[in-house]
Symmetry: C2
Subunit: 341 residues, 2 copies
Amino acid sequence: MEKQTVTIYDVAREAAVSMATVSRVVNGNPNVKPATRKKVLAVIERLDYRPNAVARGLASKRSTTVGVIIPDVTNIYFASLARGIDDIAMMYKYNIILTNSDDASEQEVNVLNTLMAKQVDGIIFMGNHVDDKLRAEFKRAKAPVVLAGTVDPAGDTPSVNSDYAAAVEEAVTNLINHGHKKIALALGSLSQSINTEYRLAGYKRALNKAKLPYDDALVYEAGYSYDAGKKLQPVIADSGATAVFVGDDEMAAGIINASMESGINVPNDLEVVTSNNTIVTQITRPAITSITQPLYDIGAVAMRMLTKLMNDKELDEKAVILPYGIVRRDSTKSDEGETVN
Amino acid sequence: MEKQTVTIYDVAREAAVSMATVSRVVNGNPNVKPATRKKVLAVIERLDYRPNAVARGLASKRSTTVGVIIPDVTNIYFASLARGIDDIAMMYKYNIILTNSDDASEQEVNVLNTLMAKQVDGIIFMGNHVDDKLRAEFKRAKAPVVLAGTVDPAGDTPSVNSDYAAAVEEAVTNLINHGHKKIALALGSLSQSINTEYRLAGYKRALNKAKLPYDDALVYEAGYSYDAGKKLQPVIADSGATAVFVGDDEMAAGIINASMESGINVPNDLEVVTSNNTIVTQITRPAITSITQPLYDIGAVAMRMLTKLMNDKELDEKAVILPYGIVRRDSTKSDEGETVN
DNA sequence: TTGAAAGCGCTAACAC
DNA sequence: GTGTTAGCGCTTTCAA
């Protein structure tokens, strides 16, 4: 009952050629006489032969598989990156081993090791934080690693991102230009470099340039979720802030809904700008002004870089920065002088 | 410069035992004297030996990898299933090769074949439609296949789903109980069995039981997206329908926003019920009444079934149906007699 | 409890 | 253009 497998050897025998020749035609090696190729192809067809990728991997030391570490597939931000990664991977005939890390350092190291054991040819890492331990593992890995949508300020690991700091700076500057003096910043965790080293930094730069004082009390660390946003809204309201930059769309939606329901009009009493331009920004009322990031492209470019690395090519750029934009919707007042990067 | 790999042979030599013994300790085979085990473990530690999963796979004919075919990772419905799949896979020490199929039949067959070439031990398939060609491939595959969140009316492929037809029937019956005579049904594609054989069927059953006439003109095939919903709204309005069951949350959001903006109050002028209970249902105003499905669990159970199959165990049930529910929000009027399955 | 040895199915020199 | 032959790194009988 067990379906029996036909091997390259069977094909060779039936076609009256050597295994090497079969291997050549299977791999598209041009050094095969057309007639021979045709004969072999016929036998392959007849026997329904399918090369065993595992054996091939062992012999060639290339698995044509890349590992992708993602915090959570159900997070649309990372899933969008993953989509870009997968499409390019497919284009280059690589498969993807995808594993959720839950952003947990221990789990990330773990996963990295099983990926290495599976002999992946390269790794794309997505996460909110790269710590020393992880960095050490990257170095230890003999497969190249590329970070996608993931910053490592310390790192020399190749990466693809957009300019988070500049985006926030521009968004906050727009808010300042609307006359706001107290602008809140609602983030997830302040232990993540994207928040502290980029978003918070951009926020501070904007204030600085406008000679507005920086106030710790206006920076909120609340976790990224719709409910977190709803809970945070009264706190923001109490702070006297008249505008807020939010690091996550669902959180922004929570803030908006809670505001509107407690009689605080967005954008008249509170302007809101968010970060990821997911579909949520279109669905809320008012719809949310947002930074836009080329998520799919970040993934796609990361995968392209990885293919280069896997073929021992040099990278033109080690830390690629893709352009961001800002799309104005109804959660902010109209303004002049908005620019799009 | 190339990092050199340490093999089982190196460990054997250093520990002065045979490869077989090393293999035993690595695989937790109890037939090893504790002292020997300890000695080997020490060498493994010292050399930082990591077993090569590819070689292991070739020798043992098990890759501890399962293939997962998904229409699109960025679709939260399927991503939620994938999350359940991955968690259970990890629990059983399997890795996941994840590939997007775009719901394209050709691509699905393609992907299936490369997964087989990679010698996956099993496959979980998610998709909106299972056609004959695919069914044939499933049969041809020597690895077991389980469908997750995917119906195959014809099929004998093991599957995990919720009772889509009953859910729609109940939801529509609730609507009927509110006095509606013309209830629209907004779906994606009518070429997908989940829509015709389940949702449409449930819809018809509800009408039938209430002795309400079925009217083709009230069934819309519009594609699943926010914009599709917005575009569909005026059409529904023109039809005279006073309630609508929608197959997708974003589409429902589009219908609701477009309605409210054109002066049609939800739920007073139009009641709306949707299908997937994603975060979108909480974000819209009014929030949307929805069927709830245990998406994570559907994935998790599918993966559990697959592990059984991969170990040649019998399945208790071939077509598992997990319970659905209905959560009432503000897009429908309150009603008595709602039940939760 | 341990070891020897034969593969697993394929690629990659190398020789012809 | 084609064939021969070592492996790739591991598991798995089978003996001892």
